[in-house]
């Protein structure tokens, strides 16, 4: 009896693709060094694909010794799909931002406003410009308006 060997390349390759794909949002996106260019995720996906194709070569080239013609093909298709979707999301989707051509420019007056703070108190831009800094109590030299997506 000649039991066929476990095709570790296919399993490891698929695992690397899954980790490379799924770890960006919950983990690597939190650090600017791995968020701006997700090089760790690219590396994991690339390594995963290399292993998957090597595993396929073994499965088809040496079917007496290695398993995996069917599940290996399925894994590889999924791995390629994950890598492709990841690249699409990183290079295309995250650039789909409005042009904001009418945003106020340097040198213009910042449009006035009044909005509620976390204590449900109305706060105006004029008031913010004279609000003491929380840590030092000093008068601010300026205000940095940080618009963010929300939905956290």
């Amino acid at each position: 009896m000649n039991p066929r060997r476990w095709n570790w390349r296919l399993w490891t390759g698929f695992l690397l693709c899954v980790v490379g794909f799924a770890s960006y949002l919950p983990f690597f996106a939190r650090f600017p060094v791995t968020r701006d260019v997700p090089w760790v995720n690219f590396a994991l996906l690339a390594a995963g694909l290399v292993l998957l194709f090597a595993g396929l070569r073994h499965a088809f080239g040496d079917p007496q010794r290695y398993r995996g013609k069917i599940f290996g093909s399925v894994f590889t298709v999924l791995g390629v799909a994950m890598a492709a979707f990841f690249c699409y999301a990183v290079f295309h989707v995250s650039r789909q931002l409005p042009a904001s051509a009418d945003a106020p420019h340097v040198g213009q007056h910042a449009p006035e406003f009044e909005l509620m703070d976390i204590h449900q108190q109305p706060v105006s831009l004029a008031k913010l410009l004279t609000t003491p800094l929380p840590r030092t109590g000093a008068s601010p030299k300026g205000v940095l308006l940080v618009f963010y997506r929300g939905y956290w």
């Binding site: 995250s94 945003a103 976390i118 840590r135 300026g142 618009f147």
Partner: protein, 101 residues
């Protein structure tokens, strides 16, 4: 953010989140600077930073943007990132802040 504050700049965060949601975020992250709610995207539109349907559930939100305003109300620095994932690095803001004296 603390480095911005030590340069004498008050950060003010604005989003569509409700005061309750922002209060929760501040408590968890330990933020002490103002968080303002713009649920109707009124001010977001005034600054032309609306991202129509930008939320995962299709709601309108703000696109990431920063405006540095001096004490006379004049805008001295604007950052409109063209990639959602790339945020302004603190160094860029600090350099702009140093020009305000």
């Amino acid at each position: 953010m603390t480095e911005i504050e030590t340069r004498g700049i008050l950060p003010v965060a604005i989003s569509v989140d409700s005061p309750a949601e922002s209060a929760n975020l501040c408590r968890k992250a330990g933020y002490t600077f103002p968080f303002l709610s713009d649920p109707n995207t009124e001010v977001i539109r005034r600054y032309d930073v609306l991202h129509s349907g930008g939320a995962a559930n299709g709601h309108d939100i703000a696109r990431p943007a920063e405006f540095l305003v001096d004490t006379s109300g004049v805008i001295r620095w604007v950052n409109l990132t063209d990639d959602l994932r790339v945020r302004a690095r603190p160094e860029q803001i600090l350099k702009a802040a140093e020009k305000l004296q």
